[in-house]
């Protein structure tokens, strides 16, 4: 009964952090509206003062779709991913929060499967995974795949996180859960994504997975250098001792 009520009044706030994503944010917004029909949702764009006019485009999109459906939560400059989510949350009126990237590597066509999975299972978190059948990655060379697999095996061996894709950031959260998690997470970059899901798992939250595909960014290049690997290893050790 309670579940049925939840289904009827569910609202989804989709938080999309941007920095110089003028074209991509327009494409993402169009695709979200295309794939989420008959669902109550809002899009919250957290823009970190992009000089390329991302905010102008968001204002134009508000004219098309309505400023109750698209909310611009601007910040003066680049201030990091964790605080971007916290900032977006302040503007969110939904009882569920979706977090996704603006660069089209997260395709909005998977949103219905996140929502369906949540409704079927009552999970507090639904996380997208690239590493199961039905999921996948496009645009990675052998080195990138090798690093990714190595990182994954290492994390699973020492952390036992209970989810297959730790560093993916396409996720749906119950609002109360994500508010609590953001307060307890301190990492930067994609170690932050790993910290969120590991802490959630330790706190005993019900986590479900759905397969997603990941097409590495179409415009602009993807970044994974030696310093990212060092950050990742530091993140693993940090989580080993604090969770």
């Amino acid at each position: 009964m309670a579940e049925k009520q939840e289904r009827e009044k569910s609202k989804f706030s989709i938080i999309v952090p941007t920095y110089n994503e003028r074209l991509n944010i327009a494409l993402v917004v169009y695709l979200i509206f295309k794939h989420l029909r008959d669902i109550d949702f809002e899009i919250i764009v957290v823009d970190d003062g992009s000089p390329d006019g991302t905010q102008e485009i968001v204002k134009q999109l508000q004219q098309v779709y309505g400023d109750d459906r698209i909310i611009l939560a601007a910040r003066p400059k680049k201030l990091g991913l964790g605080t971007a989510y916290a900032h977006g949350l302040k503007h969110a009126s939904g009882n569920f929060i979706v977090i996704m990237d603006a660069d089209l590597s997260h395709h909005p066509k998977y949103l219905p499967s996140f929502i369906k999975k949540q409704m079927e299972t009552g999970a507090s978190i639904v996380t997208g995974t690239r590493y199961v059948s039905g999921g996948g990655v496009h645009g990675w060379n052998l080195m990138r795949k090798l690093t990714s697999r190595g990182a994954n095996v290492l994390a699973h061996t020492i952390l036992w996180p209970g989810v297959s894709d730790l560093t993916g950031s396409f996720r749906l959260y119950r609002k109360s859960v994500v508010e609590d998690l953001i307060r307890s997470c301190v990492s930067k970059g994609y170690v932050f994504q790993m910290e969120m899901i590991v802490r959630a798992s330790r706190k005993g939250h019900h986590i479900e997975e759905v397969p997603i595909t990941f097409v590495d960014r179409v415009y602009g290049s993807s970044k994974l250098g030696g310093s990212e690997i060092v950050e990742y290893l530091k993140g693993l050790v940090y989580l080993l001792f604090t969770t």
Binding site: E56, I57, Q60, H107, L146, T157, I158, L240
Partner: protein, 89 residues
């Protein structure tokens, strides 16, 4: 319980069993001394095997890149019609 404590407990349990084996000497002592080395080597082999298997079965999705390009064209057409300034490329 912090995760590191869990892992250390397992290590302590394994060490205790090893010391036990050293004392009761069911297996020849020379062999027992080498057991931790075997354990480390087999862990490393397991890790390499998992990376190898993961690499061979790495799920890829080249068709998704094509579908995404179609979506991009469709989205651009729609947005241009609505007067959103997305550039002229």
């Amino acid at each position: 319980m912090k995760h590191i404590v869990k892992i250390l407990s397992i290590l302590v349990a394994v060490a205790a069993m090893w010391i036990g084996l050293l004392h009761i000497s069911i297996v020849p002592k020379s062999q027992t001394w080498l057991l931790p080395l075997y354990l480390i080597i087999s862990l490393a082999c397991y890790g390499l095997l998992m990376v190898g298997v993961g690499l061979m079965r790495f799920p890829t999705c080249p068709q998704e890149a094509v579908l995404l390009q179609q979506d991009v064209v469709e989205a651009k057409d729609f947005l241009r019609q609505k007067g959103v300034d997305i550039g002229s490329d």
